[in-house]
């Protein structure tokens, strides 16, 4: 498929800002949505809107069928062993909060330890801080190396008999490096410690096979892989999900209720309290299909490779620029950098006026900013619908913006 054909599926990409062509490079914050996703969400609201699993009427039956069909599609996408291991959530943040609460209730006690890394998004840090505060447990932190990669050498030392869970991102939203999750899981499992993988960026850029990865939990948000906002997925190994108590009560998460208590429903309903995102969740299916199609497409991958090489080389060769996360072999087209003598916010503001949408600031990773010794960074994150021409325009515009400021 030509990139132009792909772009035609994303009408927003042809709009302008301040009379300039939009160059959208904030894909790591949220990806744009294709017509298939927008149409399905509309169609779902107009044609198949009913609450799930409860009524006997035909609309409810259809809505339930679509919802459960989506679950099987997600199961196939992650290569999970059963649909019961797929829990729908509002996003990756909601999924991690669910695990931190429910797993924490069942398995974490005073003086136990939870291990995260210094490069985590706040969504994979705060739920664990909250758990540790609630249980008087200890949060341990794994550091990064000079090139931004995780300090795997120190992982062994960071684990103890008190470590109850390790939570780690598949790909950092700042550094853009693919972490060796398979290796991390192997090391943790030797000590019988379960691992949660935050796949918010991972599902976008790397193939995911949760059985091969052998992780215990894997979470992601729909909106970063072209699906509707307010959709998310928690994959959990059945053995853990069975042992964890429900996170929220109410709705279809029960088998029976009396005034003295309740019996939770079997998986996955046990973790799906309240009315679900009936019109949003089904969009995961066409979104993930498109994600796979783009990943397997030779022309699109060639363009992505060309973009990566071009931007990586230009940023690395420019001595006014400091790129963070330089481990080329493990890097995806997500570039966070600082410009010497120029504030990230000034640069983002000027680039915006040129039509280039970038992220600036702390990118929901304040501890990582402290670790890198910066107050914030500028980030350009590419999607398969971006073109080499856009990458070149970004680099030219960046050069002009630096010229105005320094």
């Amino acid at each position: 498929m030509q990139v132009s054909e792909l772009r035609a599926q994303f009408p927003i990409l042809s709009r302008t800002v301040y009379g300039k062509k939009l160059v959208y490079l904030d894909n790591a914050a949220t990806a744009q949505r294709p017509l298939s996703v927008v149409d399905l969400q509309r169609e779902s609201a107009l044609e198949a809107n009913a609450n799930l699993h409860r009524a006997v009427h035909s609309l409810a039956g259809e809505a339930t069928e679509i919802f459960e069909d989506t679950r099987r599609a997600v199961q196939a996408f992650l290569h999970a062993s059963a649909p019961e291991e797929i829990v729908f959530t509002a996003g990756a943040t909601a999924a991690i909060n669910l695990v931190a609460f429910s797993f924490g209730e069942a398995f974490v006690k005073e003086a136990d330890e939870v291990l995260v890394t210094v490069a985590e998004h706040h969504s994979n840090l705060l739920p664990w801080q909250m758990l540790c505060a609630r249980k008087k447990a200890v949060l341990k932190v794994l550091d990064i190396c000079e090139n931004g990669g995780l300090d795997i050498e120190s992982l062994q030392k960071s684990l103890s008999q008190r470590t109850k869970i390790v939570a780690i991102s598949h790909i950092s939203n700042v550094l853009g490096l693919v972490n060796p999750v398979r290796e991390i899981v192997r090391i943790c499992h030797e000590k019988r410690i379960p691992v949660l993988v935050d796949g918010a960026q991972g599902v976008v850029h790397a193939p995911v096979d949760v059985q091969e990865m052998d992780c215990d939990f894997y979470v992601f948000s729909g909106h970063k892989v072209y699906a509707a906002t307010g959709t998310g997925v928690l994959y959990g190994k059945r053995k853990w999900l069975e042992l964890m108590p429900p996170y929220m009560g109410g709705g279809e998460m029960i088998e029976s209720v009396s005034l003295s208590g309740f019996k939770p429903a079997p998986l996955p309903a046990k973790f799906e309290a309240g009315t679900q995102n009936i019109n949003g969740i089904p969009t995961l299916k066409p979104a993930l299909e498109l994600a796979l199609q783009m990943r397997d497409d030779k022309e699109i991958q060639a363009e992505q490779k060309a973009i990566f090489d071009y931007v990586y080389d230009r940023l690395m060769q420019d001595d006014r620029i400091v790129l963070y996360g330089t481990d080329r072999a493990n890097k995806v087209p997500l570039f966070s950098f600082a410009v010497k003598g120029a504030h990230h916010e000034d640069l983002a503001l000027i680039l915006d006026k040129m039509g280039v949408a970038l992220r600036s600031g702390q990118m929901c990773a304040e501890p990582l900013m402290d670790r890198l010794g910066v107050t914030g960074l500028l980030r350009a994150s590419f999607a398969p619908y971006n073109t080499l021409e856009e990458a070149k325009f970004f680099i030219e515009s960046l050069d002009k913006a630096i010229g105005m400021l320094v």
């Binding site: 301040y18 120029a342 504030h343 916010e345 000034d346 983002a348 503001l349 000027i350 915006d352 006026k353 040129m354 600036s360 600031g361 107050t375 914030g376 105005m404 400021l405």
Partner: protein, 133 residues
């Protein structure tokens, strides 16, 4: 110059530029030329909350008039705060209390800032207004 004349001056200066990039170049220029701000005044009290970049503002009162001093670690923000400093320095507390800060809309600054930056501008204006209370 009176407050009104100082505002008109800013509106005129801004109207020289059609393109927003040129207006930014002008703000950058103002930012670079802002009078130095003493390091010892970069206190928590003088720091304005709600800005993505850090902004400090301080004022001294002489013969019933306020004179502002400000700084930021981002140069466009320095340019914006320098505009506010040049317009509102020399005002009495009553003048500031009576002002509607509408000239910012007239130069199109507010709607041309990103939401986070616009919030920052609101925070800067709020801090100046506090001196009128």
């Amino acid at each position: 110059m009176t407050l009104e004349e100082r505002k008109q001056q800013v509106i005129e200066d801004f109207s020289l530029y059609d393109e927003w990039l040129d207006k930014y170049a002008y703000l950058i220029d103002l930012g670079k030329n802002l009078a130095p701000f003493p390091e010892e005044k970069k206190t928590e009290d003088n720091l304005i909350k709600g800005c993505q970049s850090r902004v400090w503002l301080d004022a001294e009162e002489k013969d019933g008039c306020l004179f502002f001093q400000a700084d930021s670690d981002a140069v466009i923000t320095r340019g914006i705060i320098s505009l506010l400093v040049s317009v509102y320095s020399g005002c009495s507390r009553d003048e500031i209390a009576a002002d509607d800060f509408g000239f910012l809309e007239e130069i199109g600054l507010r709607e041309n800032l990103s939401p986070t930056r616009a919030n920052g501008l609101v925070s800067m204006v709020e801090r100046i207004k506090e001196y009128g209370r």
